[in-house]
Symmetry: C2
Subunit: 426 residues, 2 copies
């Protein structure tokens, strides 16, 4: 490790606490990395170096640590409100827009001592129309979306941690494509005051990090819970759920999942194949798309009314579909989702965490399409915590993550499983 920007959030917090280095030195190394790499990666919508350094110096002057994240830089997806920095939503409609103040997740991070490093590029309103971000491993490939800048910035060592949001697959897919950890907590774990909704019954604030511990550390600061850092004393009991989408996966993903199952079993874990009831096959396209488009048309109502010409065709089409949708179809989709959320408990009987495909395959070439979200959507609708773990690469040498999921509210259990996986596969 030659510079501080390569450290994890956990190592940064420890190093500052031990006075091995200062928060200012960490921020300077992050800013240097940003200056060097942004012409290629375009991960940030806004960086204000003076503002970041001012926060770091203020923390360095404090007689004691402000909290768990004292001096840890954090990137914030540009649909999340921030004081001082603009919140532009990846949309010309919000060009230069300044919110009244910080979103809850930003204010809470600040109260725990984090440095708000900058705003990261989001696909337009956290949807499918991409921003300028490139995949740091291969700039001709998409970084995924919609938390494109957050994943690219973390994977490229510009910041140890960044906020994302996931309505379908917007945290886990870019994490897989960029080769970092993506964590979508249990629905509603991290308070959503101050974010622009895509679809409010699905939108979940999540984290892009480079380690499992970092995801837990930052979450702990936001939910008032000391990090548990649980570990399995004996090998965990994994489920393997290929999902009804298995045949749509590329070989890169199939091989990653099967290799993971084989090597984890070889390391002593039990791996039990799980086949979900037929009803679950309607979750990802039918139910999630219905819920998403219906709610999307409502949350975009003001923007659509005044600025239809400034909304991309891909998003505008969804808004139009949502406005045309019957309320009864929306309620039927919510009720299906509710039933599956109740039934998924059965699948976890005797299981600590489920391994599942995370993405279709390696990141597609080109920056116009942020990739297929179905594998992530499937678990998003079920409301439990999900992680993308950077365990594999595909035939082009690009990252392919595997997905690990756990029951609702059992985020600690997910972290424990993820640690066990990463120590054996990464």
């Amino acid at each position: 490790m030659s510079s501080l920007n390569q450290l994890s959030a956990t190592a940064i917090a420890k190093g500052i606490a031990a006075k091995t280095f200062t928060a200012e030195a960490v921020v300077r190394d992050c800013l240097d990395r940003i200056a060097a790499r942004e012409p290629v990666v375009h991960a940030f919508a806004t960086v204000d170096p003076d503002y970041a350094l001012m926060q770091a110096r203020a923390l360095d002057r404090m007689p004691s640590r402000k909290g768990l994240l004292h001096g840890v830089p954090i990137g914030v997806k540009d649909i999340i409100d921030t004081e001082h920095l603009p919140t532009e939503m990846g949309s010309p409609i919000y060009k230069g827009h300044r919110s009244f103040g910080d979103a809850a997740c930003v204010a809470l991070a600040r109260m725990a001592g984090a440095v708000i490093l900058g705003k990261t590029v989001t696909a337009e309103f956290a949807g499918m129309f991409p921003g300028p971000t490139a995949n740091p491993h291969s700039p001709a490939h998409t970084p995924g979306g919609s938390s494109s800048g957050s994943a690219a910035a973390v994977a490229d060592f510009m910041t140890p941690v960044a906020y994302g949001t996931q309505t379908g697959g917007s945290v886990l897919r870019p994490a897989s494509y960029c080769g970092c950890v993506g964590y979508k907590p249990t629905f509603n774990l991290i308070n959503r005051q101050g974010i622009k909704f895509a679809a409010e019954t699905l939108d979940t604030i999540g984290l892009l990090t480079r380690t499992v511990d970092d995801a837990e550390l930052v979450t702990a600061a936001l939910i008032n819970k000391p990090p548990a850092y649980l570990r399995h004393d004996s090998p965990p009991r994994f489920g393997l759920c290929r999902t009804p989408l298995w045949d749509t996966a590329e070989d890169a993903t199939k091989q990653a999942v099967e290799d993971a199952a084989k090597r984890l079993a070889g390391a002593g874990a039990s791996v039990k194949e799980i086949v979900l009831p037929e009803e679950f096959s309607k979750l990802y396209y039918t139910a999630r798309e219905t819920i998403n488009n219906y709610e999307r048309s409502k949350s975009m109502a003001a923007d659509w009314q005044h600025h239809p010409d400034k909304i991309s065709k891909v998003l505008g089409d969804r808004v139009k579909q949502g406005f045309a949708m019957k309320h009864a179809d929306y309620i039927a989709a919510l009720e299906l989702a509710d039933r599956c959320r109740a039934r998924i408990a059965d699948a976890y009987d005797g299981i600590d965490a489920i391994i599942s495909p995370c993405v279709k395959g390696e990141p597609p070439e080109g920056l116009g399409f942020t990739g297929e979200p179905a594998f992530q959507q499937f678990w998003t609708v079920l409301n439990g915590p999900a992680m993308s773990l950077p365990t594999h690469t595909g035939p082009q040498g690009l990252p392919v993550g595997i997905q690990l999921v756990a029951p609702r509210y059992r985020d600690d259990q997910l972290f424990a499983g993820a640690r066990w996986v990463m120590e054996r596969l990464a």
Copy 2:
């Protein structure tokens, strides 16, 4: 009826469609009523007469109706974002604050032809610290809260309809105290983009109206569902649930509920006493307070960090309690709520709607305390739709409503039951 401000939203929409009168004439009569009564009632935080008239005249010039609410004036609780008009949250922190644009519920009402008449007084951040609003029936008594201005304005014929929000009892309690209809839909029925959260897993946008049909009409415009106006062909099957709080109710409420049950049974309805399992007795104080305070501290994090001196003691104490609360206690409260939400389905077996106490009694004297919320909170936590119906008065001649509730997503069924009740009791 001497003036148009006394008409229901339904009658206003019909009259404008039939060209019996104009939207401008309706708005003028509402503005006249506001001018006459505001010195006593103080229902509005902001009214801009020119802006209201401009909207009405634009609607009058249109060759065809814009939508279901063409020309219907609507008041908007001051924690809900609006373009042009400030959104001040009942807090000095937000004095003069202008949001980027309309909240979803405001934009959708506008798309359906509503006139945004003004912003109504909210208790501070939709909590318990009151604004200046007085009860229109007796200015020495509280109008209830936190949707104080919305209930007072509707009850006092300043506007036919106003938005409220309910996290505990903030729609139904002021409706009961002011003697109008209060409707809290199924959780999440009306899109919440653009409101300031109190506690996001409970906050529900609702309506204050003077008729059941008006509540359904406005909701229909917001959720893309033609109003069904369902009616019971044969007498409905009511449950009577006194709740574990029964003994805390004043005679005025006990008599209202028992009188309602007796007269509805006399009119042919079946009325079956429902006693809920013991677990439900932890819902209102323990579980709801835990969820509320925990989430409140997060949604207020930015305000608390920068302006603790501008936050009332009653709210500041809740924020402090929320920050001190263990995450495990919060999750336990959410899990209790989830279990009760699942179990309440049993209570509705063979029942169309449940009658329950709405408030402790008549509105308390004085404007410092907006009243006891426990009876409303009990049903809010259960997520189903709930209405306060202005059926009774107490010994002081002040309004005492009864509460009618129905299963989740069965809002149409609630409206049908409410119509049947109102036609027999009001």
